[in-house]
Symmetry: C2
């Protein structure tokens, strides 16, 4: 099986690559080759047991994605997107990358023809939903995004479902919860603090909490996110029928519960490194975000999280990113 | 107020033009000029009390819609689309006209700048919904279209809402019920029989009923459809908040109830001209269509139908299309 990852240089792309290299197969099928693509050159892994190639280009430029699809990859992970903040700041760029890029991919697949019908796993986002919400967003709740990013993801979901319905491809769209703990440096995304307040204190560094401890949000670990992608790659596609876009399971916790989990796992000293510094702008943004989901459908289709509690999320971060070590 | 109608040569476009010529105003604002556009040249009305111009072009060709928006129309009715059957038969054409066309319009408006912020009324469709349905589709039910046409309308809704949220325009998307009685010749659309079985018998002509009398569907008269457009043009836009796409009110009736209404209004002889000729293909298509809606939100925003019963729909047809005369 030939696997293509679009957006391979991002956090999820890198972790998915690692997982594929380790497992060497997707379900019962061995991976015969892996193609990594991003707008910046993805790192070529060492010691791969199958051929891995990497390339960089702007896949929203006409003709670029055709080159990648010409090799007829059997499995395409479409993770490529510009993020929420950039899509909001640059309207044209957001539609070009997040909508046109997706459309070029789907159309390139269609044009190959000759019975070619790859599986396309598309990472959507809980940003397709917009407040006001019910307490838990169900599987049949409507999409009224409050960002251009969410709009573009919702449009991508629709197009994926249409091309799947027409038999051009096998499509699975998965709406990822906010990834927590996101590894790497603190970033300036409005959602950054959900991870910063866990990751930085464990590094012995102070982190800023800009909202109240009552704020509730929807999280999944990086390990869960990769697990969702792997499961989407092997799921019996017939079970999705024409509703191929799914909200993934996650944990609904308040910031206070996050901090309590961190304390239980890493101790009192660690949580002292969280500094409260209320930020009205961030509070306003966050108030429009989903707090909780009922993901019955995804669960019934076998999607599961790697964590049961927020304590688990902290432990997974220490295990997967810190080799078991943190600054107590 | 300068008004632009895109898709002016279609049934709804022609009836809207008539209504604007008659009323000479939209709400409290006088119409100063009217521009009609379609892919075929719209007929220029006689005896207009304000200047009316007409033009024909493919508005999905880059640059075409800019010419229309350059005149800064205050009110844009965007009715232009290729229909369900054609969008299903020609995937590329459907996306080009129904998605790209809409996007070119919104982007052309954005590029005018200088505080230009027209109201855009977009006709969407109940085809944005796909079976299985609840008994009545509510205002927060998700969009899982089962046709490319429905997909393209759903994508248009999302983009309209995004551009409205960003302050580029005032957007109102209205999901029209199936229009009944659709005037004109019988057409080959799968939904054609809902109107054929009323219109043709009233003309003294036989009509074919391809489904059982138990089939339930969602209807509104042409007069109601024009009423929705006029109301959308004057509604206080702030009341829509960020949820600018609305299912319009209608009547949920079975085919049997349609026939009973026709009989009450026009007599026993007329309904004898309906010939039962079951068609499995049409039955299968229709079984995936919405049957009923809960349109609380549109009603609370003042959208109302011209009819209370299916008898009214028959009477409105006789009044509006047949000058009160039918073949008994």
């Amino acid at each position: 099986m030939h696997v293509l990852i679009l957006g391979a240089a991002g956090m999820i792309g890198r972790k998915l690559t690692e997982r594929l290299l380790k497992e060497q197969r997707i379900g019962s099928r061995e991976i015969s080759s892996l193609t990594l693509h991003d707008v910046v050159m993805p790192a070529l892994p060492e010691n791969a047991s199958f051929p891995v190639s990497a390339s960089a280009s702007d896949f929203s430029m006409p003709g670029e994605v055709e080159k990648l699809v010409a090799a007829k990859p059997d499995m395409i992970f479409h993770l490529a997107a510009i993020v929420s903040g950039e899509a909001e700041a640059d309207l044209d760029k957001g539609y070009r990358i997040n909508l046109d890029g997706t459309r070029f991919l789907l159309d390139a697949i269609k044009r190959v023809g000759g019975g070619y019908k790859p599986r396309v796993i598309f990472t959507s986002s809980i940003a397709v939903f917009g407040a006001p919400f019910p307490d838990a967003i169900g599987d049949e709740f409507f999409e009224t995004p409050l960002t251009s990013y969410g709009t573009q993801k919702a449009m991508g979901e629709l197009m994926l479902a249409d091309y799947a319905r027409r038999g051009i491809l096998e499509g699975v769209g998965i709406r990822l919860p906010t990834i927590c703990v996101r590894p790497g440096k603190p970033n300036k995304a409005a959602s950054g603090f959900f991870s910063n307040i866990i990751r930085e204190p464990l590094n012995g560094v102070e982190a800023v909490l800009p909202v109240s401890e009552e704020v509730r949000h929807w999280h999944a670990s990086p390990r869960s996110a990769i697990g969702f992608l792997m499961h989407a790659a092997t799921i019996d596609i017939a079970k999705l029928s024409n509703r191929v876009n799914l909200s993934m399971p996650g944990l609904s916790v308040t910031v206070g519960e996050q901090i309590a989990g961190l304390e239980r796992v890493a101790g009192k000293n660690v949580i002292k490194r969280i500094r409260r510094e209320p930020d009205q702008a961030i509070m306003r943004i966050v108030s429009g975000w989903p707090r909780n989901f009922d993901t019955s459908r995804a669960k019934s289709l076998g999607f599961t999280t790697a964590e049961k509690t927020f304590d688990d999320i902290v432990k997974l971060h220490i295990e997967d990113e810190l080799q078991g070590n943190y600054v107590a």
